[in-house]
């Protein structure tokens, strides 16, 4: 067992070898590059679903606008004050920094958890794309409460799309990544165009004099559709904040910010989140209201922008599922170290395709996004504690690396213990991560403080 783990660890290290060393000063990137990078992110197929769900959940117009405005601000500040400073000081990826802190064993578990969560996310993107193609073949989108596949047609469709996405990812990930860069600004335009074109259907006058009235009575009217939970300002605020939780508070964007000249470059994430997580969500809300508040992204895109809208939805799913499959493959490669890239992408793609058949992942996307962030968030708190709190409390840093621990049990206990507590907290799922972060921070600090003597020995 020990030798197997040592072999896995050694292979896992080789995979990430290229970014093992801290980034040198000549490789640092300008603020403009960061602004451009983030501007191209955060416009995915899932935006068609998230914005629409706020309408179905009966969010009021004022709650939506204020919630998104401040929630996204909190997300930007989390990148700026939590993620970027640690990345700039260490110049390391989370993988290597976590390895120093928690040991290769915990890093391995983190990788596998991440891969599994990525596969579900990519599966949701495939499902969303399936609604675009399904429209042409008359395949009905599963009902909002569906968990299992609802028809043979849906299974065949998601399998076909998943297979196509996986094949392209296997054949040429890099070319598609370049194509995705071209798609990104246009997909954003599809959102804007679709929403503008749907305004007459909702009764908005060309001089916009009744825009707010339509917004509050016909779009975000505060009435949830049957079977959907009513959400308000706090839910929207927290959702906008945590929808990239694994990236900012969870610190996985250290991989990007280690190239930043200054930690203040975290503010450039505003160029991504405000168009993607404010404008695009508002646009998809307008579109879903115009088609009678039905969760059918394919029909939404087609009715809003015609054939181009259908392609927009398909491309949004494709171009965002592709890097997600790649990341899942990279994380999974730690378990199958001798496999070539194509083989592991194939396995990740196959798993993703199977998951995409289950409509629950895109129909419960808001909850899934919350769980995804929640599961990975304690790792961010552990790294934060080790980086900022330990020196102040004179707790020795990087004990796992110095003592050669495979597992830093304190990190593992703090991580899993936090999750157990979070899932039993009497709070709405959206609000649980915040006390969870402090629980992880405090429990890890206390556990490691109690091992001070062990360190001295």
């Amino acid at each position: 067992m020990a030798s197997r783990l040592a072999t896995l660890t050694s292979h896992m290290d080789k995979l990430y070898e290229f970014d093992r060393e801290p980034v040198s000063s000549d490789k640092l990137q300008s603020g403009g590059k960061f602004a451009g990078l983030f501007a191209g992110e955060h416009v995915a197929a899932t935006e068609f679903v998230i914005g629409a769900f706020f309408v179905l959940h009966g969010v009021g117009a004022r709650d939506l606008l204020l919630g998104l405005l401040f929630g996204n601000l909190l997300a930007v500040l989390s990148w700026t004050f939590i993620c970027a400073p640690i990345a700039v000081r260490t110049r390391l990826t989370l993988y290597w920094y976590l390895r120093k802190i928690a040991g290769p064993g915990v890093t391995f578990i983190y990788n596998i958890a991440n891969a599994f969560l990525y596969c579900i996310l990519a599966g949701a993107m495939i499902s969303v794309s399936a609604t675009a193609i399904g429209l042409a073949f008359g395949i009905k989108v599963p009902a909002l409460d569906a968990v299992l596949p609802t028809s043979v047609g849906w299974v065949v469709l998601t399998f076909a799309i998943g297979t196509a996405f996986t094949t392209v990812a296997v054949l040429g990930f890099e070319k598609l990544s370049r194509f995705a860069e071209v798609c990104s600004p246009w997909i954003f335009v599809v959102f804007i165009a679709g929403a503008v074109a749907m305004l007459p259907r909702l009764g908005v006058h060309p001089n916009l004099d009744n825009l707010w009235e339509v917004a509050t009575t016909k779009i975000w009217n505060g009435v949830a559709v049957a079977g959907q939970e009513k959400l308000g300002f706090g839910h929207v605020l927290f959702f906008a904040w945590f929808c990239n939780l694994a990236m900012h508070v969870g610190l996985s964007d250290m991989a990007l910010f280690r190239y930043a000249k200054k930690w203040t470059y975290g503010l450039f994430t505003a160029f991504g989140v405000y168009p993607g997580h404010l404008l695009a969500w508002i646009c998809s809300g307008v579109m879903v209201a115009a088609i009678g508040r039905q969760m059918d992204p394919g029909r939404m895109a087609f009715e809003a922008a015609g054939l181009a809208g259908t392609f927009g939805l398909l491309l949004a799913g494709w171009t965002t599922a592709n890097p997600t499959l790649y990341r899942a493959g990279l994380a999974l490669q730690t378990v199958t170290p001798n496999w070539p890239r194509w083989k592991i992408t194939l396995v990740a793609g196959a798993a993703t395709t199977v998951l995409s058949c289950f409509p629950v992942f895109f129909l419960k996307l808001l909850d899934y996004v919350a769980i995804y962030g929640l599961v990975l968030m304690p790792i961010g708190a552990i790294v934060f504690a080790e980086h900022w709190i330990f020196p102040r409390l004179r707790i020795e840093q990087y004990m796992a690396e110095k003592r050669g621990w495979t597992f830093n049990w304190s990190a593992l206990i703090a991580w899993l213990g936090t999750l157990v507590i979070c899932f039993s907290l009497p709070l709405h799922l959206y609000f649980r991560w915040l006390p969870g972060w402090f629980i992880a921070l405090a429990s890890y600090t206390v556990l490691m403080a109690s091992r001070r003597k062990e360190g001295v020995r």
Partner: protein, 63 residues
């Protein structure tokens, strides 16, 4: 120069993509015309943006 022309053309196409829904909203064109115009300007964006990206990569010496 080789990157400037496709850059200008692609950005113009993208801007035109936004013009057609605005014209439809203002009641100046029909829904059918809007959808066709949006499709054509979208195709134009992809053609010119791919040319732009390829020219930029060549200039940077990337394959």
């Amino acid at each position: 120069m080789k990157t400037r022309i496709p850059a200008v053309l692609s950005l113009t196409s993208l801007a035109l993509c936004l013009v057609s829904p605005v014209l439809f909203f203002a009641g100046k064109i029909s829904e059918r015309t809007y959808r066709l115009a949006f499709l054509l300007t979208s195709i134009a964006w992809f053609v010119f943006a791919i040319l732009w990206a390829s020219a930029a990569r060549k200039r940077e010496g990337k394959p």
